[in-house]
Amino acid sequence: MGDWGGYLSLILQGALVTAKLTVMGCALALVVAFIAGLGRVSRFAAIRWLATAYIEFFRGTSIFVQLFWVYFVLPFAGVTLEPIQAGIMALGLNVGAYAAEVVRGAILSVPRDQYEACIAVNLTRFQRMRHVIFPQALPLMLPTFGNNAIELLKGTAVVSLISLHDMTFQAQVVRAQTGSTLIPFATILVLYFLMALALSRAIRMIETRITRGLDGVR
């Protein structure tokens, strides 16, 4: 007992890993969400089918199992990932599947008369999406994206199972070495909460920026 400064720095190192997983995981989730979400509304059946398969698979199986597959099973197929890479990949693909449905829903909720206006001014399909539909769908996605990002943050705790030294893992280490459960877990409780708070603030800021000048649109 005694060296609480050292233990705290251990937990803060873990916090850094958790933050890194969250940021990178969200980045990956965002990319796959847009690809799969747009794929779901594609006019090509094969693309719709692929996107649906991805979404249903990753929503329908546990993140825990997905992580084990990425880290322990993929090496048999010749793909060996660092623990951090495996963690980012599993989290990003998992949350990306949920966020893809958000993208699809937002795009479909743009009123039909906007599509008709685009045809009347002769925009191509791509121009229609890029300049008219997507900019109106994006503000609708953001609040739910915020939820998804916080889910991802909380999901990072499972990566301790593939020996990644994230915040939860380090708290377990401190607990094992000091015998105290309360102090390390109270610490990470506060830290997780602060990170989630920072995330939702960040999303709120982006929301205000994007919807600026759109008052009264909906």
């Binding site: 008369d113 045809i119 649109v217």
Partner: protein, 261 residues
């Protein structure tokens, strides 16, 4: 004798088992101002939507500016038009909608310049100068930087007219453009359209319930019922001296409902 700019030949449009248009044929000459009137459900709006390619056709042929709208030639055979062909054909046609359909996330000016910049490659400065001229024409030059949500219905519709004009279509379709407006805002939109009809040689098709305006605006009036033309002719004839019983009873109802003729 010039050729018609629109040629509709034996057009059929069904929604499920319901035939909205049943073997419809008529021609429109370049520069002609046409008013389509008739009870709701008579298929007049459907005709405009088909001409704008918002609705597919079930059967028949439509020719626009000498070219098939829904068909094209491939290896000497007639096949359904693909997206590229439709895209080419749409450049002849513009449309103004009942509910304006402005882009809410863009300013008034951007609403007008978006399509010319994207589809015609017009340089931004030139597109904006042209948009300002059009806004001047519809009396909204001071609203260039406003968002659609800040405008009244009549102002929105005038912007929508400017947006459609910016692409300089040869044919303009007006689909009940005053039906969604408060009565006191109707006049300002009709004034713009009257000037447009007087000052340009654009071909215009107008679906309307404003009989007084149709009378003033149109060279020819088509009265529709159940997907067919019941009667057509110059406005004086249709409104003052209709021959068909269906036309007479429709106009009687309209007058009884308090509309001006």
């Amino acid at each position: 004798m010039t050729d018609p700019i629109i040629r509709i030949d034996n057009l059929v449009k069904s929604f499920g088992t319901f035939k909205v248009l049943d073997g419809l044929s008529f021609d429109v000459m370049p520069g002609e101002k046409l008013a389509l009137i008739g009870p709701s459900g008579s298929g007049k709006t459907t005709i405009l939507r088909i001409l704008m390619t918002l609705e597919s056709i079930s059967d028949g042929h439509i020719e626009i500016c000498g070219d098939q709208l829904y068909h094209m030639q491939r290896n000497g055979r007639e096949v359904p038009a693909d997206e590229a062909h439709l895209h080419k054909m749409r450049s002849h046609i513009g449309m103004v909608f009942q509910h304006f359909n402005l882009f809410p996330h863009k300013s008034v000016l951007e609403n007008i310049t978006l399509a010319p910049i994207l589809t015609k490659g017009t340089p931004r400065a030139k597109a904006e100068a042209r948009a300002m001229e059009l806004l001047e024409m519809v009396g909204l030059a001071d609203k260039a930087d406003a968002r659609p949500a800040q405008l009244s219905g009549g102002q929105k519709q005038r912007v929508a007219i400017a947006r459609a004009l910016a692409l300089q279509p040869r044919i303009m379709l007006f689909d009940e453009v005053t039906s969604a407006l408060d009565p006191e805002l109707v006049e300002e939109v009709l004034l713009v359209m009257k000037r447009l009809a007087a000052e340009t040689d654009m071909t215009m098709l107008l679906v309307t319930h404003e009989m007084g305006f149709a009378h003033e605006f149109a060279d020819r009036v088509l009265f529709f019922d159940k997907g067919r033309i019941v009667e057509q002719g110059p406005p004086e004839q249709i409104f003052s001296n209709p021959r068909e019983e269906r036309t007479q009873s429709f106009l009687r109802k309209i007058i009884a409902a308090g509309h001006r003729v």
